[in-house]
């Protein structure tokens, strides 16, 4: 008789992994729909590609590790990782980008560390960071939202043309017609203009920014749905968004011509996705509620610091990975008092 080893928390049926993962998958649907509306069919193709390749890598790893294959394939954790990667990368990135991403996430970041529950880093963010460092050209080629590209939109609106763009290797001349910078990139490379001038002169911000606001709103919807269904608590997302908002307000109030306004920081880039779908990862994040608040504050502060003074326009992946590294430390100092003990076993000398 083989007993399947499962990692903690050992709770009863109410929050089994497969149910949680299914709810998370449902919660990513608004974002997928929003991305498809504003940026074309690319995201949907990436999601299908990512799910197929992630399941294949997961099955191969489980087979090599002699683990029960169907049981772990059905829990849907590989699918969640795959969908998050697919929705994080540019919708029309070449097919091999997302396949390398799922390989990194499933094989390197998850199974080499011992599989689901044992990974110190969020697999999707490991994959994203690796892709961003390795393929800067492909990973920064976001296409512009439909309002900005006029006639070229017909290409992105056609499913077969989208397939051709993603699967053909020579598309650089073609893709230049409808790629554009993201709002955070525009702000980063503004060449001496004040924030207000960028807002006025750059169509990405003056006309196109609502597309990014729309996507953030979709992530927010999914996140609120998950809090409502008690998949995770509000602590980490709330702490992260509040920290980012307060920090950006502080600097924006001090020098509005130089710094981006707080609503832009909240509304564009990966903020909302990171807050609700990455920072809430039960495996790689902090465990206690107090720990989750500290984790969220750390992520929010790091995102602001890297976005504003770092060399990359967005920072969610790096911020999350750095905080993943600190999560055991945070847990060590925020361990709650357990029943029957007068004091909590935390900090140096804890557990004695």
């Amino acid at each position: 008789m083989s007993l399947i080893h499962l990692s903690s928390p050992h709770v009863s049926k109410a929050n089994a992994t497969d149910r949680v993962m299914r709810l998370v998958l449902i919660a990513t649907l608004p974002a997928l729909i929003a991305l498809t509306i504003f940026f074309g069919w690319g995201s949907l193709i990436q999601v299908l590609l990512a799910c197929t390749s992630a399941l294949a890598f997961e099955a191969a790893c489980l087979w090599m590790r002699k683990r029960p294959m169907l049981f772990f394939l059905r829990d849907g954790s590989a699918l969640v990782t795959a969908v998050l990667i697919a929705l994080a990368i540019p919708p029309f990135a070449p097919w091999w980008v997302v396949v390398i991403g799922t390989f990194t996430a499933i094989v390197i970041a998850k199974h080499l560390y011992g599989g689901l529950g044992n990974n110190p880093f969020n697999p999707a963010m490991v994959a994203y960071a690796l892709l961003l460092i390795s393929f800067p050209a492909e990973m920064t080629q976001w296409n512009a939202p439909f309002v900005l590209i006029g006639d070229n939109w017909s290409v992105l609106a056609s499913f077969t043309d989208s397939l051709v763009i993603i699967f053909s290797s020579i598309n650089h001349g073609m893709i230049d017609a409808y790629t554009g910078a993201t709002p955070l990139e525009v702000l980063k490379h503004r060449g001496g203009m004040t924030t207000e001038e960028v807002w006025r002169n750059n169509p990405v911000l003056s006309q196109g920014v609502f597309a990014w606001y729309g996507i953030s709103a979709a992530w927010l919807m999914g996140g609120i749905f998950l809090i409502y269904r008690k998949v995770f608590t509000w602590h980490a997302p709330f702490a992260m968004i509040t920290t980012l908002f307060l920090l950006s307000s502080l600097f924006y109030a001090g020098d509005p011509s130089n710094f981006a306004d707080p609503f832009l920081h909240i509304g564009v880039g990966a903020t909302m996705m990171c807050a609700f779908f990455i920072a809430t990862d039960p495996v790689s994040g902090a465990t206690s509620n107090k720990g989750k608040v500290i984790f969220g504050i750390g992520v929010g502060a790091l995102i602001y610091i890297i976005r504003t003074w770092g060399s990359y326009p967005d920072a969610a992946a790096f911020a999350i990975l750095l905080m993943n590294l600190s999560a055991p430390f945070i847990d060590h100092y925020t361990q709650p008092r357990s029943y029957g003990h007068a004091r909590a076993n935390r900090g140096i000398g804890g557990g004695k």
């Binding site: 390197i108 080499l112 690796l130 460092i133 390795s134 393929f135 800067p136």
Partner: protein, 234 residues
């Protein structure tokens, strides 16, 4: 005597490999293994220094006072590194420029210091020289494997720029595995070296576990044939 040399060789190449087991000299190992040619260059330089320092340390092992042995070892190693540096500057100038600071830094390579203190200062000259040679080869092989992995993944080529060491004829050794390769920066950057190194160590541990498992199987089968017919059931 023969078995002792055999043990020294096996230790250097496998059981006590400076890179895979002792995890010494990681700084140059991770920094310069972007291509096979860099790996061979640094590997040869390190091996020569190891042999020279082991030889010298072993020769003077009775004259060196215990209390100041480390500074003396450092000076011996530094002398050989300076010689290697000048030699590379004279004969492989381009490679010297590529490897840059990592040639002088061989002085601080813990693998060399470790062998001088742990082995050469306690053993006769022939054993010490053999130890230096085998440790050097073991280190170089790991460098070359890691360099090959990173060159293939990072640039899509193998054995490029070999003329920097082996002369003009070696220019044609370059194998382009993937035409029009876009490059995989992660493998070429230090994080890729860490991941590659981790995979190599994992592979070594896997092979060791397999060997151990096989030996136990053989031992068990022998034990079964020699022991009585009683079978233990658990």
């Amino acid at each position: 005597m023969n078995t002792e040399y055999r043990k020294i060789s096996l230790d250097g190449l496998w059981h006590n490999n400076p890179a895979l087991v002792q995890l010494l000299g990681l700084c140059p190992l991770l920094a310069v293994t972007g291509s096979v040619v860099n790996a061979i260059g640094l590997g040869i330089a390190t091996t020569v220094v190891l042999i020279g320092s082991n030889l010298t340390v072993s020769l003077f092992r009775r004259q060196v006072p215990e209390a100041v042995r480390l500074p003396i070892f450092v000076m011996i190693i530094a002398a050989f590194v300076t010689a290697i540096e000048l030699l590379m500057q004279a004969y492989t100038y381009e490679l010297f420029l590529i490897l840059g600071i990592f040639i002088p830094l061989i002085v601080t390579n813990c693998a060399i210091m470790g062998r001088a203190d742990a082995f050469a200062s306690r053993n006769p000259v022939p054993a010490a020289v053999l130890d230096g040679l085998m440790m050097g080869i073991g280190f170089t092989l790991v460098l070359i494997i890691l360099g090959a992995m990173r060159e293939v993944l990072g640039a899509g080529t193998l054995f490029s720029n070999m003329h920097l060491i082996f002369g003009e004829a070696a220019r044609a050794w370059k194998i382009t595995l993937v035409e029009d390769y876009r490059g995989f920066l992660f493998a070429a950057l230090p994080p890729g070296a860490f991941v590659g190194m981790g995979l190599l160590i994992a592979a070594k541990n896997l092979i060791d576990a397999k060997i151990k498992h096989r030996k136990e199987l053989i031992k068990d089968s022998q034990a079964v044939t020699t022991a009585s017919k009683r079978v233990r059931i658990t």
